[in-house]
């Protein structure tokens, strides 16, 4: 039930066959129905992608013509301390935030995966932050919660922790954003819940007969059976975490302050591209991100054979 299976099992999973004669009206109808998407694909995705690749080798400020400068943008990137800061902040966010969020999602999905009353209610409540978490409203609330003398500060003082406002403290800004993303555990939780329902109960019963405890069942049954869903969530959430923008923009007022601790990749790209109008430079940043995401996807798919368990009837 996920994207991952799609390449393997699209509707026409026919065995190899001799070159087929397409029916004329099917071809016409097919491309007729596909026309809006094709226009969008070429006009809004494919052509812009090529254009941004070209721009990444130029200096361009929206006025005048792009000036070819070869690899200069890419070389400049790696000498730019702010770029390095943005890459570091975003990577840290992805590496810490994604596993935490997924761990919370899995743990709570397992808690909810029982036939108790109220299960549906809790599922809805836990899902709600996923819908509003990236909104400007919530960013404003978060800022107010974590400001100096704000609630989180007060709670900290209450238990003897003198951490002050997290907003102004470069070393506490990252935990604040990680909490914001972890708070949105609901969407992966719903996906995990759907996955957990697919695990045959007989497996647990058989394991119980063999005397397996809870932890053993979790490691030997739940995790392997759920691994395609975990894989899928990990990939999507990691890629998603590279795109954080609104909350960083609102909380730092569009600056990435303090000390660049909230200068996320997308925010920095926005500042370079749309405030300084260094569009060639920003395009190079975009392509570095594409390469990173591409490499991450590739590595995850390559290593997935080792740890992702596909049930017998799939693949």
């Amino acid at each position: 039930m996920s994207v991952l299976e799609k390449p393997a099992a699209p509707a026409a999973a026919a065995p190899p066959q001799p070159p087929k004669r397409w029916k004329r009206h099917e071809v016409i109808a097919g491309y007729g129905f596909l026309t809006p998407w094709l226009i969008g694909f070429f006009g809004l995705t494919a052509v812009p992608m090529l254009a941004s690749l070209y721009l990444s080798f130029t200096r361009y400020n929206l006025f005048g013509a792009p000036e070819w400068i070869g690899l200069d943008n890419y070389l400049l990137l790696f000498e730019d301390p702010q770029f390095r800061q943005a890459a570091k902040v975003t990577l840290m966010y992805a590496v810490i935030g994604t596993p935490l969020k997924l761990a919370a999602a899995l743990a709570i999905a397992m808690l909810l995966n029982s036939k108790r009353r109220g299960q549906g209610f809790y599922r809805s409540v836990f899902y709600a932050p996923s819908l509003i978490g990236a909104s400007v409203s919530i960013a404003i609330v978060w800022r107010a919660l974590f400001i100096d003398d704000g609630i989180v500060d007060r709670i900290g003082s209450g238990v003897g922790l003198d951490w002050g406002g997290w907003i102004g403290n470069p070393s506490l800004v990252m935990p604040m954003f990680v909490l914001l993303t972890t708070w949105q555990f609901g969407a992966p939780m719903v996906i995990f819940l759907a996955g957990l329902k697919q695990v045959p109960n007989e497996l647990y019963e058989a394991a119980a007969v063999d005397g397996a405890g809870r932890w053993r069942k979790f490691v030997s049954i739940t995790l392997p059976m759920l691994s395609p869903v975990i894989f899928f969530n990990l990939l999507l959430e990691a890629i998603h975490s590279f795109q954080i923008f609104s909350s960083a923009f609102i909380i730092s007022n569009g600056t990435g302050a303090p000390a660049g601790s909230s200068l996320f990749y997308t925010l920095y790209l926005y500042l370079r591209g749309f405030q300084d109008f260094r569009m060639g430079y920003a395009s190079a940043m975009a392509w570095v991100l594409v390469l990173v995401v591409g490499a991450l996807t590739f590595v995850m798919f390559k290593t997935s054979n080792a740890w992702v368990h596909y049930g017998g009837d799939e693949r």
Binding site: S2, E26, W37, L62, G186, L236, A286
Partner: protein, 280 residues
Amino acid sequence: MISKKTLGSIAWHLGALAIAVVVLYPGAWMLLSAFKPTNQIVGSVSLIPHDASFDNFRTALNGIAGVSFWRFFLNSVILAVGAVVGTVLSASVTAYAFARIDFPGRKLWFALMIGTLLLPFHVVIIPQYIIFNNLGLVDTMVPLLIGKFLAAEAFFVFLMVQFMRGLPRELDEAAFLDGAGHVRIFRSITLPLMKPVLATASIFAFIWSWNDFFGPLLYLKNSDLYPLPVALRLFVDQTSTSDYGAQMAMAVLALAPVIIFFLVFQRYLIGGVATTGLKG
């Protein structure tokens, strides 16, 4: 004596309730702070307002920079309704092609469509901006809406393809034998059967458009055209850190339609997330 089963049940409910309190706290705090005087907001863990009043809402509804709140609200509605209409029309047609029509290149296009799910949007925004700028469309809503009418959001196409694959084909085949073409079959058979997935897609399209900040920030310069998130940002900028009460009131007003949608349609939303395996 309390049985072990009852104890387990109590523990389960306490655990779930504790998580629910943590999850709901920020939202509840926002809502109730909107009724408090500003000096009682920051640092007040207690949710209950002492001197509850609508003053903050009055300030928020006054609008910003000579533009009324309802203008921003209307802009948000225009963008969101446009997104819903465009998405429902374009994604359903595209999904029909992928799920029901047999034509050369279908697998390739489908793979490319799935690929765009993983593509970071950063790589297209700069050329898109340049194109729309050259067409004189910056500072209009066109750049924010056109993609919706061209099925640019692969999530929706994928959602509908998944749904269509679960629909029985017998009706299509019968209609085909009666001489109906794809346009007929799509309009009179498939579309009516797709109501649940169209509902799910509409709700997501509405909420995502409603919450979108990056697009309007990029393309809209004239505050008359601002939807709520950008207006909210302007508001926060202008009141600086002083008037938390009004900020919270406006944050609440900006989120209210999303919350209402969620309360009414949560079944569709959660169903959509669970069946596609894509996040909300």
